[in-house]
Symmetry: D2
């Protein structure tokens, strides 16, 4: 998965309170980073996660596969990147990675499988795919 393939990147920085007693970012916090990147990406194509929830449409995570390669430390600057793909009519998959800004060292690779629900029921991802295409983002079938 070459870097040039990513559709979106977000720069972030480790905050001290995100580190646990090992002095490195706690494993659960990376899911926060990955989620924040996805939500900022959605915003960039005109989809507001919080507003969608108020309209009865929820984006939910079905599966998370995360490979931890190297830990982030206090003060580290890093990029979170993503590439969206579709899988059938219901699933959107986000291939994501986190790299350290200073040297592009790979911190983490993840594949996050998501789906939309409307009032709690499965909802086709067409809305989402349409918004992406309107923004000029090519979304492959996985």
């Amino acid at each position: 998965m070459a870097m040039t393939n990513f559709a979106f990147a977000l720069e972030m920085q480790v905050r001290d309170y995100e580190c646990d007693l090992q002095g490195i970012v706690n494993n659960a916090v990376y899911q926060n980073y990955l989620e924040h990147c996805r939500h900022k990406f959605l915003l960039s194509v005109g989809l507001d996660f919080a507003q969608m929830h108020m309209d009865g449409i929820d984006a939910v995570v079905i599966k998370a596969e995360i490979e931890y390669k190297f830990p982030l430390k206090p003060g580290d600057d890093f990029y979170v990147r993503l590439k969206p793909r579709r899988q059938g009519r219901l699933r959107i998959i986000f291939d994501q990675e986190i790299v350290r800004k200073a040297d592009e060292k790979l911190i983490l690779k993840a594949r996050i499988t998501t789906a939309l629900t409307k009032n709690g029921r499965p909802f086709p991802s067409d809305l989402f795919v349409k918004k992406l295409e309107d923004s000029g983002i090519v979304i492959d079938e996985l």
Copy 2:
């Protein structure tokens, strides 16, 4: 503030992920503990914070005064206690403390000032006071 005065107590235990790089519970996490104790107390008198929110009534924190006396460490068992008081018709004040279970060592003292809102507007605390009195809890004017 003698211990016998508390209206409610909750036993909890430190989780490793709640500790930061200093190896002790992060300051913000104590607010989670204090909130969790308040919400369990509300439940014990028949008030469900999440359900109240869905009904348009929100309990909000107006002021938090917290004195940190001694840190909690990984694995520590502790009690969170509270005593509710009323202040005028709008405010409910929770005097809270956290003590280590093993030796009753005082970890933290707090005064949390709260109010109710209904659809975003101030709402008298009578509902709350009534529920407490029905449960036999005496609630003093501060």
Copy 3:
């Protein structure tokens, strides 16, 4: 993976602050639950995560694979369970699940791959396997 196979189970309860704006437990928080269960399991066989860190030995997560089946809501009681396996001389794998207490509804299945490091370098999992066997826990090769 039948329930009778689990080596350890921990009862927990959702805290309101663990829920996000969708009104359900945030995805990252489940990793906190899974970690807390693993650390309590380690403690039950005499291994203290925090103490190990101070002794230069760190248990690190290499991979997390999590299938989210159904969300937890405010106030839900649930069990977190695990079964440890070994993979070669370096990796310990934890098969974990979260089920709702009221009806055993499956909330989440996870496979967490971990390894030990000593002063930052890979360290055989023998220490860990020995402790488990001393506690009468059978640990299969994956």
Copy 4:
């Protein structure tokens, strides 16, 4: 406390996962924001919280007084500001505020009382005061 008095300001943005089931930033999270601002300020005068801990010097919070004025919502941009003061030879006090970026609306006012410890014992704040003065920051006695 006029705005022009602040010694340091940090721009941040609400992340969706920081919001709780009320759809607004959870009360405890503001302590994370306040801490992050203090640590970035320390860094700006050459004091690294994580490095200090490794050197046996810990900055600890003794008291937190927080007035919540108005909630932050998903996507809000905001500033966290601080002004340090000294209190005797041992205490450093941070007057902090959070304002919404769009309209300077006051979100929160806080006074955070801190002290230094060296290997667990009280340690004069001179080190800290010296660093500030070297950076040209005037630090008043409270």
